[in-house]
Subunit: 461 residues, 2 copies
């Protein structure tokens, strides 16, 4: 079958790389969710903003849906193409375009991997501080599309805080040059901020100017074992009041079991229900003393059962692996993922509510908890029993997610802390955003993308 | 003449305080610009979100324009009511509603003064770090409407960074509860961010949850005299690389002349064309040594002519007064104000360009420069000669502003760094935002406020 629209696209943009082999369609049509069968029409791999703009204008004329595509490490189906869309992959637009030492900004193309951004900042003696386990595969464009968070949010905030400027091709085909690296710019609505977290439904980022900062002083990594969930908040408050925290991550014994089975090294003996990996700035011996004093106070109070302070970079990396290796260790069990948040102050009651909920609803199913306590962000991974079919398993999880969404609504939380809504959570959007907000969001989408060609079906049905 | 719409408003909201005496209309109908003759229809002083929502719904039914009103310290005419609008003053909604020690947030009503927010944070041992000279009169709602910046942006960023949640009555009458204090919330478009800096054209903030932080360690204040404009950037780079800067503010000899005539005390002898007030964290003697070493290096390089390090809180306050007293000292001269910004990296060339421009265009007029070099933000105050009429003076200044806007456009700058567009700068908006961006902004306004009842004529004509 000849695809006349694609023929026209190739005619208009003769340099544009286009792929349509079945293997390519499958590879570029899915993300890490693996729930939908990839079925894009074709894959376009533009090499410039001009080509991106040309594609968007073509799509408007032919009314073809576009799925913007980065590293496809997303967990909400935001980059899935299952309905004859054109996948617009930004993987060839992956260069560093410039560095400004006075402004301390790095200008990059959207397809660059987060890890490459880290490296480029380091070359100039500076830090791009957003970080998480998918750093080697995820792209900065995708980070912007979901306002990615990760393991340093407690110290540095989300991606939003680090975007000094964005060039964007809007859904209507216009090229926008938003904020241009200005620190102060009170000249109307900040469309840059609107673009961040919009999951490819308003425009396609073709260039980003990232703010960099000074690297932190030397830091130290500690693993703590905790006897109860209540102790989590006590230990967090204790450590936050005495140290300058870079990270404060928790996981459960069930998570530990999987990551150890996947090759990580046990660092604390005995059985403990909860663990924390924390990293804190440690410029001098005073901080190390403060950390040990905080640890001892926690032990005396009965909040901490055991602990290890890393004595070398290698040991620090080994402790971090216990937390960062969790996602990979669960992959073989086809986990169903929830990524939720509440205010930190609402965490204790919320944790109890969902502990009760999950124990009741998943009586014979392994549920792995981990997350970023200091951000109020909890990741829940439900592992598929071999006896259940994929469809039955997902149906059961979606039933529980509905209950979880109700609990989140009660606590003023969010059904998506950092993964985005995509396809996976759009049925639960009303737990987090009111009908009035959703109506405004739909109206805004209509303004940027009147024909709805960008990532249709994502975020809203 | 009976105003039937106002009669209906009073009937619907019998508790609502309404004013319509000539003195009230004048008082509430103008802001610090004083360029327009106040002519509102009436003044409403709601005491609750419900009353605000009732007013907005009434305004939609009667097609009455509303001017949201805080401290009216604005310098762009954003709170001017000169066309029969209803002024909706938030001054009675000025309470602290709550403090959360775990989340470290303060929830306030929009009419609270910035200084009262500082005080409330201090009571809990914490800091709300946005700060500027109008702190005693400006309201937090107005700060949010313009994304207010000020003197600590170099260290803490603009208002935008400190807003954890907003309750807003949108132009369509819906009450929105945006982000609810969450640190991580990737659930669609961040309407909170869109509201910040929208100058009362999308919605009226009825409650704000502000993020607080640890107070800084002890700081020190230094006044520097500089021989050339080029030295400004050198001294900034030098001090930024060696110290943790809280503020880095510059002003000229012309500004000094006015502030001294207004009662401030001279701190450095002799005539110097440029001055800097800088404040830096100084937790220990090491930092003080570093500051002195930086100073000496600057002197050796010929970048610094003289300097004073404050030896007491009183002396620090006296040095700060040299910078913070400028605006007040200029007021009797009816200054025409520009508030512009460029990337810091673009400052040196930009400063030379506009120095040439202003010297050429204002040959016989005092022009006072000051601003926030570390943010790329420059305030230009043109003083009205007594011989010129108000109208002729403003016409001349608007002609020069057009040329300044062209220069800003060339350097990728902004016609409004922190004051907003309002009425004063709307003719120059296209120097900063492209026609495509402005069209999107108009579209967004239409979504939030279909009848255009909120602050019509502000931001766009």
């Amino acid at each position: 079958m000849t695809d006349h629209a694609i023929v026209d696209l190739a005619r208009r943009l003769p340099q544009l790389r286009l792929l349509s082999e079945p293997g390519d369609l499958e590879h570029y049509g899915r993300d890490w969710t693996r729930r939908w069968t990839p079925a894009p029409r074709a894959i376009a791999l533009p090499a410039s903003s001009d080509e991106v703009q040309g594609i968007v204008r073509w799509a408007n004329e032919h009314n073809v849906a576009i799925v913007p595509s980065g590293g496809r490490t997303g967990l909400s189906g935001g980059a899935v193409a299952a309905n004859g869309e054109l996948v617009l992959s930004l993987e060839r637009m992956n260069r560093v375009l410039g560095f400004d030492a006075v402004d301390r900004t790095l200008t990059v193309q959207p397809g660059i991997a987060l890890e490459a951004v880290h490296g480029a900042a380091r070359e100039h003696g500076l830090l791009y501080p957003v970080d998480f386990a998918a750093r080697g595969s995820c792209s900065i464009g995708g980070n912007i599309a979901t306002n990615a968070g990760g393991i340093r949010v407690i110290r540095y905030g989300n991606t939003r805080e680090w975007i000094a400027g964005l060039k964007v091709v809007a859904g209507n085909g216009e090229l926008l040059d938003l904020n241009r690296g200005l620190i102060k710019n009170s000249s109307g609505y900040d469309l840059r901020q609107l673009m961040i977290g919009s999951e490819g439904t308003l425009g396609i980022v073709v260039e980003a100017t990232l703010r960099l900062t000074d690297p932190p002083p030397t830091s130290q990594v500690m693993l703590l074992a905790l006897p109860t969930m209540d102790a989590l908040m006590d230990v967090f408050a204790l450590f936050r009041s005495r140290l300058s925290l870079q990270a404060f991550e928790f996981f459960t014994d069930v998570a530990l079991k999987h990551v150890l089975a996947h090759g990580a090294q046990r660092a604390i003996d005995g059985d403990h229900p909860y663990y924390v990996v924390t990293e804190f700035e440690s410029p001098d011996e005073k901080t190390q003393d403060a950390a040990l004093a905080a640890f001892e106070h926690g032990v005396e109070q009965g909040w901490i059962s055991d602990g290890v302070l890393a004595q070398s970079d290698a040991q620090a990396a080994a402790l971090w692996r216990l937390r960062e290796g969790i996602t990979e260790s669960l992959a073989p069990h086809k986990p169903y993922k929830n990524d939720v948040s509440v205010r930190i102050g609402a965490l204790p009651v919320f944790l109890h509510d969902i502990q009760t909920l999950l124990a009741r609803e998943y009586p014979h199913i392994d549920v792995v908890w981990f997350g970023h306590i200091g951000d109020g962000n909890l990741h829940i991974n439900v592992l598929k029993p071999e006896s259940l079919s994929d469809a039955d398993f997902i149906a059961q999880c979606e039933h529980v997610t509905k209950l979880l969404a109700d609990t989140l609504h009660k606590h003023g939380g969010s059904i998506s802390a950092e993964h985005g809504i995509g396809l996976v959570k759009r049925a639960y959007l009303e737990s987090t955003r009111s009908p009035a907000e959703i109506a405004l969001m739909r109206g805004i989408r209509q303004v940027f993308d009147p024909l709805g060609i960008l990532n249709p079906g994502k975020l809203f049905a």
